[in-house]
């Protein structure tokens, strides 16, 4: 198949493969993770799975520093005409809470796919929403009903973070608040095809701009 000439090319492709390796949520041992890709209007998924749920994994505690290993494969290929709306990986981790109640939301997180080709090790620190009132927080702790985002893609978006909830009983509206807890580590291999032909410069894999060396150390060694 002949490749289209540079002037005719309409799309570039971004391929992301990798693994959701592990998560670390101190004090929680049985976790599973949901992932969704979120991308802009000009983007479409060519092949691969856009969303998935990992198995329920638990850690035995002593060996893995409390981290839970999923090793869940991710493989998706995106096509786009414009880098605006670069794909993001939205993660939500669920698990048991202190009282062993299942399916509690533990954290949400989102990360852009790396813009440079190559292998990237990414750690996503996660957060979850808090109930808007103190009473609500206490209740959610007691009843085991934690607040969740209505839209699972919320972490990938900027809007709504400033939202307030007008509470009639209090003069000041309660601000939208979250708490950060835990992290998920991923390995992502990214390959980009056809961006240079569209006029975008693609950095070479894992290039670093400015670097300082120690000439003295170098001469000695």
């Amino acid at each position: 198949m002949a490749a289209p000439s540079a002037g005719q090319q309409r799309y570039f492709n971004v391929m992301a493969t990798g693994q959701i390796e592990s998560g670390r949520f101190e004090g929680n041992s049985s976790l599973y993770c949901r992932y969704v890709f979120s991308c802009g209007e000009d983007w479409s998924v060519m092949c691969g799975v856009e969303e998935g749920i990992t198995q329920m994994a638990s850690s035995s505690g002593s060996t893995a520093n409390g981290s839970v290993v999923w090793n869940f494969p991710i493989d998706a290929t995106f096509r786009s005409t414009c880098p605006h709306g670069w794909p993001q990986l939205v993660l939500s981790v669920y698990g048991e809470d202190y009282f062993g109640r299942p399916d509690m939301i533990l954290g949400y997180g989102a990360v852009h796919l790396p813009l440079t080709p190559g292998r990237h090790r990414v750690t996503v620190r996660t957060f979850r929403p808090l109930a808007s009132s103190l009473l609500g927080r206490l209740q959610s702790w007691l009843n085991g009903m934690r607040p969740e985002f209505i839209e699972s893609l919320f972490p990938a978006k900027g809007e709504g973070r400033e939202a307030t909830s007008p509470c009639i009983c209090s003069p000041r509206p309660a601000l939208f608040s979250t708490t950060s807890f835990g992290s998920v580590s991923l390995v992502l291999d990214v390959a980009i095809q056809g961006m240079e032909q569209l006029g975008y410069a693609v950095p070479p894999p894992r290039a670093e701009g400015v670097r300082l060396i120690d000439p003295l150390a170098a001469t000695i060694s």
């Binding site: 540079a6 002037g7 090319q9 309409r10 799309y11 670390r24 209007e41 000009d42 983007w43 479409s44 520093n65 409390g66 786009s80 005409t81 414009c82 090790r121 990414v122 929403p129 109930a131 808007s132 609500g136 209740q139 959610s140 009843n143 009903m145 607040p147 969740e148 985002f149 209505i150 839209e151 919320f154 809007e159 709504g160 939202a163 307030t164 909830s165 309660a174 939208f176 992290s183 580590s185 240079e196 032909q197 569209l198 006029g199 410069a201 070479p204 894992r206 670093e208 701009g209 400015v210 670097r211 300082l212 060396i213 120690d214 000439p215 003295l216 150390a217 170098a218 001469t219 000695i220």
Partner: protein, 1308 residues
């Protein structure tokens, strides 16, 4: 804090104390998280002799000099006692709790890129962060020592030595070889500071003057000018000779002369310049002398020396006076000569004035006197040095001593910024109290893969031990051009702080002193910290390369312009080689650059983008089609939604835009009214597509409103808090009470039905009880029969394809009391509330009269033919959603679709109806069994940003007045996603010009605009209130739009009219129009075109009145009555009607801008269009009927058709209130027909949406199924056109039974 794991703490001790680097070498390499793109390493100091000595003295002090360490110090610096005694140095570990260390260790092991082993054998080694400033000793401790320039004990910052993954490895894979930029900071010399004395200020003025003088001397400007003069003189002389020799040779002569003139002017200019330069230098020297005197006077006055400034003046003895005077006079003569020559040459070109020789001579003499050194005066050569010893501290007054101590505490440091990012701190030094300068003497090597856009150095002042550091100034460094010498080439950059300070007392008068000294040069009016920082930048090679053979090549590459900063082509574009002076030293670099361009050997390591030409630059960006597409996508998401799903991505180039998008870019084609030609498919399609487009557009706008945060968003919109959704369960005590009640078997207790959530497993039925009919039509006596014939009425109920009929009853007021059970099925088994709400099925009730005919063949008496036909008399339809919302419906429903005339039927004698047909109604009861859970308001009421305050108030207001099921609202969502106050929809609007003045005609017009239920819209309910112009344009809308349009028309006719919100049967929540004329209210239904006077209110289909509004206000019905008949229509009574604006309500805003246009535009419906519909409907119906009758022949009676058509026109006039149609007139028209035929038929009136709706209605009548001997049919279609292609379609269908032929037939 940087942390790392090291195996065994002991390893990092230098074994022999040889070099401090060793300690780090022994430690395992630890990868470094890069800071942005930067990785930082320190470079050795350039001028490090003394400092390193001091450092080594500290670091490697053996037990031979233990006295310099106090126990306190030892603890502070964290030196372990034992190791110290061994003469070994161990880097101090910052304190951290064991628990913190453990957590840190665990997290590090988890962190990406960590190579640390998690086997627990390592010890966490913590080192100071190399990038962020870390204070080892607080500054007050330093100052307490008070030893000048770092005493025996000075704690230095230590940076981690060994780190970074292999640079070489990365570089080898990366391809591009890095360039090394060395940045050194020498020192900072302050020009003004808070702690400056007058003396310091004078010194800094001295310094700057000396610098200027030195610069002039260095450039040898005066000598250069002198050289140039002598050269030019020779050239001029040569030329003159040439001209003299070859006189009279036309063109060459002229050329030479012009050349001569140019040389002459240049010579004269150079003379002037030379004199000025000499004068400037002399002046500088004199000023310095003055300054020096001022400084000395200052020292005298204060009684001590606080600076090291020393100035010596060397007087260069002049040569003999007369010699000099002679030289001057010679120069004068020469210049006069040259002037004359110049004048002569100028006069040749343009003859004119005479030369005033004396005047010139005088002018030159004056200049010489002013600028030139008078003969005999010596030249003053100032020699400035800073070698004087200041007064020792013992002899200083207390105030000065404290000032010096304070100054010595000031610590300044520089910070290097690459591309705006802080790379590292470059040196850090204390202020020298005498020089008021800081020696930083630090250097750094940056390894760069790309050329940095900017290099800058920031000068910071350390305050509060590093807690409140203050930025003094920032200087941007020039990037060195080609390979520069590795030795520092110092350049001074001046910086000034932005914040002024209060100078020390006694400095006030300094301005005058300085002004005196500097001959009126104005110093700054306010004091800010300023100074100069010395920086040197140079490209170097990597140290490894320098050693290796290959390194030579790299250096050569650099030297040939590898790191060239300027784009040579750009230089060429701006500078032309002709403008450059090959002799001027300042132009030399430019010239060499040009030469290199010519050689074509320009190579850049910073590559151009390969496809740079193919990119669209910002200037052309706004004009590109892609840009318009992006804008369109943002502003008109509805249009974008119409694109096919795989074509929604904006292509990367204009040339690749698909035709679909190009279509969008074109200006929207207006709906072609001018053509007005009728084309059934086109009209139907266009209408459907327009409505569809509008719905998608509104949906998209609402989405956009959400996205653009026009809504006031709550956390509830984003976060689901399960607890907020849990409703408190009611505790029902009545169950207990019931147990205690005495049992009465004969008094059964009513049990409430419990709603059961919908699912396919529970069988669900709609129970319909057809109870009775009121005022139903009765058969008219026909000529053939004697006596009054009895009707055989039955009701047919249809739902979801099911069909049930009641028994047959007769009479005008029959009672059926039949229970019918209709199965309710949810499509696709989807029992969600949304799906049920969207169920568009209707429960249709139709009233039929069953007619039996028996025909006896006259020839064969034994043969009897019995024909049975059901004649449709009227009916109504209930949308299922109404039933679902209410749970049960009970009441008498008027037969809406009953035609205005039923041939062969008449009113009962007791009927109160004024029309041809009785005002029939059916009393029915409907419910769903088992009950469905009542619909919950899923969509929380949102506030939009516009009028948000009012909306919030309205929400509360509605809550406070909520009573029962009354429908009250204050805001309604508009088409653009914003919520709008209802009053803003009301505004007098002009009716079509042909309908002005006739309210019935207006009502007729409005009611004819096709109805489109919000709930029936594609893709779920969409509650949007449309404006009248858009409503008329779309030709579709629901109750609100109809009512608002009618209300606006009535207002334009100066009728006091209101819109009533409430609920009615069968439409559910609805809007009516209310007019109050002379105290008598009247209700108008703008959808059906019916009106009710006050005394008819009990029969009104509006059952509950919630609120009334007009353009001024909204009144909520808070009175006891709910039905229109019970409501007191006196809006000013606040006990019954609570106004929104007014007492206890919201403060009325000054302006309520209307959402409606002030004038509506209409276009006439063309006759072509009208007749087109008429023809088409007629043809379609005829075909349909013939098909329906199948094998039976259909005999059309054309002559009756024409008569019926006339009647239809009269019907339209009657309904529109133009001219009343009386029964007599109607009968008279048909009298002749009826004389020979038994005529059964009815007119049907619908508004034109599409022909299928009309066909369906005609089929329902069953007229064309009639059969008799020689039966004939009549069908007539009349279309009346109203503006905006609103058409009223009348169809008269009738069956004609020949009375003569059917003499033997008898109906029963």
């Amino acid at each position: 804090m940087r942390s790392r794991l090291a195996r065994g703490g002991a390893k990092q001790k230098g074994d022999d104390g040889d070099k401090k680097d060793d300690s780090a070498d022994a430690a395992p390499a630890v990868p470094v998280a890069p800071v942005g793109d930067l990785t930082v390493r320190p470079a050795p100091l350039f001028t490090s002799g003394s400092k390193r000595a001091a450092e080594e003295a500290v670091l490697y002090t053996t037990a031979a000099h233990p006295r310099s360490f106090s126990p306190l110090r030892r603890r502070r610096t964290g030196l372990g006692g034992g190791t110290f005694d061994d003469g070994l140095y161990v880097a101090p570990l910052p304190a951290a709790s064991a628990r913190a260390l453990q957590t840190l260790e665990a997290r590090l092991a988890f962190a990406p890129g960590s190579k640390a082993l998690a086997d627990g054998a390592g010890v966490l080694l913590r080192q100071p962060d190399p990038v962020r400033p870390v204070r080892v000793l607080p500054s007050w401790l330093d100052a307490a020592g008070a030893e000048p320039s770092g005493g025996p004990f000075e704690v230095e910052r230590r940076r981690p030595e060994k780190w970074g993954t292999s640079v070489a490895g990365t570089l080898a894979s990366g391809g591009a070889s890095p360039r090394v930029l060395q940045v050194s900071v020498g020192g900072i010399r302050l020009q003004d500071h808070r702690l400056f004395l007058r003396e310091h200020e004078l010194q800094s003025a001295c310094r700057s003057l000396v610098a200027r003088l030195e610069d002039a001397h260095e450039r040898q400007l005066a000598q250069l000018h002198a050289l140039k003069i002598s050269e030019l003189k020779e050239a001029v002389a040569d030329l003159r000779e040439q001209i003299g020799g070859g006189a009279g040779e036309g063109t060459t002569d002229a050329k030479l002369q012009s050349r001569l003139a140019a040389l002459c002017t240049e010579l004269l200019e150079t003379r002037q310049l030379k004199d000025e330069q000499e004068c400037a230098e002399r002046l500088l020297a004199r000023r310095l002398l003055k300054l020096w005197h001022a400084l000395k006077a200052e020292r005298e006055a204060q009684g001590f020396k606080s600076t090291r400034a020393r100035m010596q003046f060397r007087l260069v003895e002049p040569s003999a006076i007369d010699e000099e005077a002679e030289a001057l006079a010679r120069e004068l003569e020469e210049e006069v000569d040259e002037r004359k020559l110049a004048h002569a040459l100028a006069a040749q070109a343009a003859p004119g004035s005479d030369l005033d020789e004396d005047g010139i001579r005088a002018a030159i003499e004056r200049r010489q006197q002013e600028l030139r050194r008078p003969p005999g005066e010596g030249r003053l050569l100032p020699v400035y040095s800073e070698l004087a010893t200041p007064t020792p501290p013992e002899q200083l007054p207390q105030r000065e001593r404290s000032r010096q101590r304070e100054a010595a505490r000031e610590v300044l440091y520089a910070r290097l910024l690459v591309d705006g990012r802080a790379v590292c701190e470059l040196g850090c030094g204390k202020l020298q109290p005498h020089d008021m300068s800081v020696r930083l003497e630090a250097s750094i090597q940056l390894q760069l893969l790309t050329r940095p856009a900017s290099l800058a150095v920031e000068v910071w002042q350390r305050r509060y031990g590093g807690l409140g550091d203050q930025l003094l100034g920032q200087v941007y460094l020039s990037m060195p051009e080609t390979a520069s010498p590795t030795m520092p080439h110092w350049q001074s950059y001046a910086f000034t702080a932005s914040r002024p300070f209060q100078p020390l007392a006694g400095r006030e008068g300094i301005h005058e002193a300085l002004e005196n000294a500097l001959d009126g040069v104005q110093p700054l009016p306010r004091h800010v910290v300023s100074g100069e920082v010395e920086v040197s930048t140079a490209w170097t090679t990597r140290p490894a390369d320098r050693l290796s053979e290959a390194g030579a090549g790299a250096v050569g590459d650099l030297a040939s312009g590898g790191a060239l900063a300027v784009d040579p082509q750009q230089v060429l574009a701006t500078v032309s080689p002709d403008e450059l002076d090959p002799n001027a030293p300042t132009d030399a670099p430019l010239l060499s650059l040009m030469a290199r361009i010519d050689r074509g050997s320009v190579g850049g390591i910073f590559r151009h983008l390969r496809n740079a030409a193919a990119l669209q630059w910002s200037s052309s960006w706004a004009a590109s089609d892609r840009f318009s597409l992006f804008q369109l996508r943002r502003k008109h998401p509805g249009k974008w939604a119409q694109l096919p799903p795989d074509e929604k991505a904006v292509p990367p180039r204009d040339s690749l835009i698909p035709p679909g998008m190009r279509q969008l870019l074109r200006p929207a084609a207006e709906f072609d009214d001018a053509v007005g030609r009728y084309d059934s498919d086109r009209v139907a399609q266009e209408k459907a597509s327009r409505v569809k487009a509008w719905i998608t557009q509104v949906r998209a706008r609402h989405e956009a409103a959400r996205a653009s945060q026009r809504y006031v968003m709550d956390t509830q919109d984003y976060v689901r808090e399960p607890l907020l959704e849990v409703e408190a369960a009611e505790i029902n005590c009545s169950a207990f009470l019931k147990l205690l009640e005495p049992r009465r078997k004969l008094l059964p207790q009513r049990r409430l039905r419990k709603p059961v959530p919908g699912s396919d497993s529970t069988e669900r039925k709609i129970e319909v009880v057809v109870q009775s009919g009121f005022d139903l039509p009765v058969r008219a006596p026909s000529n053939a029969q004697r006596g009054r014939p009895k009707t055989s009425l039955f009701v047919e109920v249809r739902f979801q394809g099911q069909r049930f009929t009641t028994d047959i009853k007769s009479g005008a007021n029959p009672a059926w009391n039949t229970i019918l059970e209709l199965n309710l099925a949810a499509p696709g088994g989807d029992w969600s509330q949304q799906a049920i709400m969207n169920l568009s099925d209707e429960i249709a009730f139709n009233l039929y009269d069953k007619v039996h005919r028996t025909e006896r063949d006259e020839r064969d008496e034994s043969q009897l033919t019995v024909r049975e036909e059901s004649r449709w008399l009227g009916g109504f339809a209930l949308p299922f959603s109404t039933l679902y919302r209410n749970g049960k419906l009970e009441g008498s429903f008027p037969l809406d679709t009953m035609p205005p005339m039923l041939l062969g039927y008449e009113k009962d004698s007791e009927s109160r109806s004024q029309a041809f047909v009785p005002a029939s109604a059916l009393r029915t009861f409907l419910t769903i069994n088992p009950l469905l859970p009542p619909p919950k308001e899923e969509e929380r009421e949102r506030l939009t940003t516009h009028d948000a305050k009012m909306q919030e108030f309205a929400k509360e207001w509605v809550k406070t007045i909520a009573r029962g099921e009354r429908h009250v609202r204050v805001f309604a969502p508009g088409a653009d996603g914003q919520k709008m106050l209802l009053c803003r929809f009301i505004r007098p609007q002009n009716p079509p010009s042909e309908l002005i003045g006739n309210e019935r005609q207006l009502l007729r017009y409005v009611s004819l605009v096709p109805f489109l239920d919000d709930a029936a819209m594609e893709g779920g309910a969409l509650d949007v209130w449309n404006t009248s112009d858009s409503f008329l344009d779309l030709g579709a809308g629901d109750q609100e739009e109809h009512a608002i349009l009618l209300c606006n028309y009535l207002l334009a006719m100066n009728k006091g009219s209101y819109v009533v919100l409430g609920s009615g049967i069968p439409e559910g929540l609805t809007a009516y129009v209310l007019t109050i004329e002379g105290g008598s209210p009247r209700l108008w239904n703008a959808c059906t075109g019916r009106t009710w006077e006050k005394d008819e209110f009990d029969r009104c289909s509006l059952t509950s009145v919630g609120a009334v509004f007009n353009q001024q206000n909204i009144w909520a019905n808070v009175g006891p009555g709910e039905a229109p008949a019970e409501v007191q229509w006196n809006l000013s009574d606040e006990k019954l009607w609570k106004p929104f604006f007014g007492k206890g309500g919201f403060a009325r805003p000054d302006v309520l801008p209307s959402a409606q246009l002030s004038t509506l535009e209409y276009h006439r419906t063309t006759e072509d269009f009208r007749s087109g519909i008429e023809r088409e409907v007629y043809d379609a119906l005829q075909r349909e009927v013939e098909e329906l009758r199948g094998f039976r022949p259909t005999d059309w009676n054309r002559s009756v058709n024409a008569k019926l058509k006339d009647l239809l026109k009269r019907f339209e006039q009657d309904v529109a209130g133009v001219k009343k149609l009386t029964a007599i007139e109607h009968d008279a028209t048909l009298e002749r027909v009826r004389a020979s035929y038994h005529m059964v038929g009815l007119p049907i009136n619908v508004t034109y949406t599409d022909r299928n709706a009309i066909i369906k209605r005609v089929r329902e009548t069953n007229i064309f199924l009639a059969d008799a001997k020689k039966i004939q049919f009549a069908l007539s279609v009349y279309v009346h056109a109203y503006p905006n292609q609103v058409c009223s379609v009348w169809v008269y269908c009738a069956s004609l039974e020949d009375l003569r032929a059917g003499s033997s037939s008898r109906s029963s």
